[in-house]
Each structure stands twice: as structure tokens, then as C-alpha cells.
């Protein structure tokens, strides 16, 4: 079996938001919609203050709360763990958006462009009105993965088959791969490092692992 996951090394992330920009570029999301975003978290009290940059987005959970609540079956989970949305079925009730503990889902009701009321040339070319009035979220760049696999490439290793955010990460903080493969890059990282998953107490089984220290 295959289970695609993302590993984010919190020791490496510098909060540059290149992954966010790459995601927007790859998926043509409208202003205000960030399928991959990087949180800037502060902790401690002055003068002993630390900052941590935390990439977040859809966690492609094992038990996705968004899937359970979806009344239309637009939200589905593939055998490889990727949670998808069928824009042609979704009714835009946003129940999934309130059910998601990771704030990963967006619903945009009307077209919005970066520079005023009119789309730029790029926005006009890539505008997809099927995304209006429905839920959207990170897909782990599922099209790249599927097309890459068809070409015999390995997602997480070959850039052409890897999500845009992981490809663009300048500090190699984001790593994508198959956790069911013991020899994969993500399996190796998880063996060699301490990690946690966010909101694990909610029993969603997130497919997003955060490295924080060496074993």
C-alpha cells in the first residue's frame, strides 16, 4: 500500500513562505486563500522568546472529520490517503470547513482577483469557476502525483511528481513521500527524528508530521 504524507522539519523552516507562493502559483488560488501557509508562532515571555515557523494546510487525515460530515460525498479519501473534493458535487454548505480542526478549507463565493476587479492575464487564463461557492483545500498536488506515477516517477523524489510546496522549499524543511515504504525519504526522517502530529488528541490521524529534534 501507499500512504502519502508530508514531513515538516521545524528546525529547518525559516518562514520564508516560498511554499505558500509556490502553492498559489501551482494551484492558482485566489487572494486570501492559502492552501499551504506558514504560521509564525511565538512562545515564552520577553526576553526569553522563541519563534517557530509552522507550515500547515490540509493534513490528509486518516479519519478526516471533513469526510464524515460531508453530506454530498464530494469529499473523499483515496486509498493512498489523499483527501479530495469533487467540485462538481459539492453543495458549498461549508460543513467540512467548520469540521476541520486545521482550518484548511476555504469557500470563496465570488471571483476575486489580486489587482482590482479585473483578472490579470494569468488569472484569466487559469480561472476555474467550478471552484466558486464550493469548498477547496490542498490536494497534495494530486495531479502531479498521478501524472508522475504514470511516467514511472517517484513522488517526493522526482520534482515533477512532488507537491509544489515541497519542491520549492529552500531549506528542505518540507519532505513528501510514502510512509508505508520503509525505505522512503519520509520513513527515514521519521526513524531518525522525534516528531509529533498536530491535534492528535482529536483522533484525526493527520498525515502531516512535524520533526522537532534528533532521536
Amino acid at each position: 500500500m501507499t500512504r502519502w504524507v508530508m514531513v515538516a522539519d521545524l528546525r529547518r523552516c525559516v518562514g520564508c513562505q516560498t511554499c505558500t507562493a509556490a502553492c498559489k502559483h501551482a494551484n492558482a488560488t485566489p487572494p486570501g486563500v492559502q492552501w499551504r501557509k506558514v504560521l509564525d508562532m511565538e512562545m515564552g515571555h520577553f526576553p526569553d522568546v522563541k519563534r517557530v515557523f509552522v507550515p500547515v494546510g490540509c493534513q490528509h487525515c486518516d479519519e478526516p472529520p471533513c469526510l464524515d460530515v460531508c453530506p454530498s460525498t464530494a469529499t473523499r479519501k483515496r486509498d493512498d490517503g489523499i483527501v479530495t473534493i469533487d467540485y462538481d458535487i459539492c453543495i458549498g454548505c461549508a460543513y467540512c470547513a467548520v469540521a476541520c480542526p486545521y482550518d484548511a478549507r476555504y469557500k470563496v463565493n465570488k471571483a476575486d482577483f489580486a489587482y482590482g476587479d479585473e483578472p490579470s492575464t494569468s488569472e484569466a487564463q487559469r480561472f476555474d469557476d467550478r471552484r466558486l461557492g464550493v469548498s477547496t483545500k490542498c490536494t497534495f498536488c494530486v495531479d502531479r502525483i498521478d501524472e508522475g506515477l504514470e511516467k514511472g516517477l517517484t513522488p517526493g523524489v522526482d520534482p515533477e511528481a512532488t507537491p509544489a510546496c515541497a519542491n520549492s522549499c529552500l531549506s528542505q524543511a518540507l519532505t513528501f513521500g510514502d510512509i508505508d515504504d520503509p525505505d522512503s525519504n519520509v520513513s527515514r526522517l521519521l526513524r531518525e527524528n522525534k516528531y509529533f502530529r498536530m491535534h492528535e488528541e482529536l483522533e484525526t490521524g493527520p498525515g502531516f508530521y512535524y520533526l522537532w529534534d534528533a532521536e
Binding site: V52, V69, P71, D103
Partner: protein, 289 residues
């Protein structure tokens, strides 16, 4: 920490709240009107009023969805989605309720009321299943929503009875007991949330709770007691108290759905080690009490 602390969910507004508000009132009213109908209370108009409330709630949520003309897709996921189950529960509710009205049959109205309870239960489960909102997924919200719907129904019956110039003791006692139960459930719901919830949620609910308990519980109970102990006063004191308790229930659901619905936010269990000699440490959960 902007963007990190739990933010108010932006998706479900007053229209979604209207579904829970009017759905609860309508089904609760069907329950009490059907019981009253066994003792001679009319079937037709109360049946219509109960169903109208439910229909109004559903219409409001229909106005909220992004693709309203795909509304039939809501029926696709009965295996797991409480929203689908709510939609299914509405079908026999309207069918049997419609027959009850058409045939003027108290027994059918009672059946419609039982279906209404299923509808109400589905509504409560809809909120409970929303894992992203701590104030909704709290276990005690389920009995709170159920009790609130029944309280509103009993209160609406008191108002209807007063318009007919009647005020038997049993609906007043039922409404009073439900108001007391709702008050206790509210207190426990809030106390449980205080053990772990977004600070903003607690601030909103704590602030609302003071007014809610006074206007939605103390005032109605005083009115019910005054009505019961003062000869001839029940006919206007009971509905006066009922109006307060009814509006308080609506306000409670509106507040929970739209004002106290802060999302989970973000948290890390550990902060990362940095540098060759760095060590990791405890994490942070911003915006939680």
C-alpha cells in the same frame, strides 16, 4: 499571534443559526402540540405552525449554501453525515405532518412529533460532529440543543394556549422543568468548556451566560410561579415567561453558532531544537485558556 490563535469560523452565519433555531422550535412545538392535541387541542394550525418553523429553518440554510441548486446532493451520504440524516428525517416529518393536518388526526401529529425528535437529534449531532469548533463538539451540547428545542416548543405552546384563552397546568409545569433543566445543562456545558476551550469562546459564552440565565431562566420561572400562585394570572404570566424563555433559547443558539464558534487554532507539542547544542522544549497552544 495573528492567524495562529483560534479565529471565529467565517462560514456559518445567522442563516445556519436559523436552521438550529427554528428547527428546534418547530420540532419542540410539534411534540407539545401533539400531546396537547390528545386532550382536544387543535391539530391543523399547530401542525402547520410546527412544520413552518422547520421549513423556515431549512430554507435559511438553503440560502447559505454556495450551490443552492445542487441541494439534492445533500441526500448522498446517509452512512456518515448527520446533515444528510437531518435532510432524510425532514421528509417523513413533512409527509406525516402534512397528513395529520390534512386528516385532522392527533395520532398522526404524534407520529410527526416523534419524527421531529429524530430531526432535532440530527441537528444536535450536526454540531457535535464539527470537530473544528470546540464549543460545538462539546459532548454536553447535544442534550443542551435537545432540551432547548423542547423548551422552546413548550413555551410556544404556552403562548398558543394563552391566545385560545386556556392555560392547563401541565404545559406550564413542563416548560418550567425544561427551563430548569436547560439552565443546569448550560451551567455544566460552560463549566466543561472552561476546562479546555479557546479563550475568546469562553469570553463570549461567559458574557452571554449571565444575561441568558437571568432573562432566559430566572425571569420565566418567576413568571410561571407568579402565574401559578396568583388567581387568574396564569393566562398572561405563563406566556410572558414563555416569551423570555423562547427568545433566550434562540439567542443561545445564535450565540453558539455565530459568536462563540472559534476554531481549534494551531498548536505545537514541542518547540524545535536549534543549532548543534540546541534542545527542544515544550510547545505552545496560543489562544486557549
Amino acid at each position: 499571534m495573528n492567524g495562529v490563535t483560534p479565529r471565529l469560523q467565517p462560514n456559518w452565519d445567522w442563516r445556519a443559526a436559523g436552521n438550529f433555531t427554528f428547527g428546534g422550535t418547530g420540532t419542540g412545538f410539534l411534540v407539545f402540540a401533539s400531546i396537547a392535541a390528545l386532550g382536544g387541542f387543535p391539530v391543523r394550525l399547530p401542525g402547520l405552525i410546527g412544520m413552518a418553523f422547520v421549513a423556515l429553518g431549512l430554507t435559511m440554510v438553503w440560502l447559505e449554501i454556495g450551490k443552492p441548486w445542487r441541494f439534492l446532493n445533500v441526500y448522498f451520504h446517509p452512512q456518515r453525515s448527520w446533515m444528510t440524516r437531518e435532510a432524510y428525517a425532514a421528509l417523513p416529518l413533512f409527509a406525516v405532518g402534512g397528513l395529520a393536518v390534512l386528516l385532522d388526526q392527533p395520532g398522526l401529529l404524534l407520529t410527526a412529533a416523534a419524527l421531529g425528535l429524530i430531526f432535532l437529534y440530527c441537528q444536535a449531532r450536526i454540531l457535535r460532529a464539527a470537530k473544528g469548533v470546540p464549543a460545538w463538539r462539546a459532548p454536553l451540547l447535544l442534550p443542551l440543543i435537545l432540551t432547548t428545542g423542547l423548551t422552546e416548543g413548550a413555551c410556544l405552546l404556552l403562548i398558543a394556549l394563552s391566545l385560545l384563552g386556556q392555560m392547563p397546568a401541565w404545559p406550564v409545569i413542563a416548560a418550567a422543568l425544561l427551563v430548569v433543566l436547560r439552565g443546569f445543562l448550560w451551567r455544566d456545558y460552560l463549566n466543561r468548556l472552561r476546562m479546555g476551550a479557546p479563550s475568546e469562546t469562553l469570553a463570549v459564552l461567559s458574557s452571554f451566560g449571565k444575561i441568558f440565565l437571568i432573562l432566559g431562566h430566572a425571569v420565566p420561572l418567576i413568571a410561571f410561579i407568579l402565574g401559578a400562585t396568583t388567581p387568574g394570572a396564569s393566562l398572561y404570566m405563563a406566556p410572558a415567561g414563555a416569551i423570555f424563555a423562547l427568545l433566550a433559547g434562540w439567542a443561545m443558539k445564535y450565540t453558539i453558532v455565530t459568536k462563540a464558534a472559534h476554531k481549534q487554532g494551531f498548536a505545537i507539542l514541542h518547540h524545535p531544537s536549534r543549532g548543534p547544542k540546541g534542545t527542544g522544549g515544550p510547545g505552545v497552544k496560543p489562544g486557549w485558556n
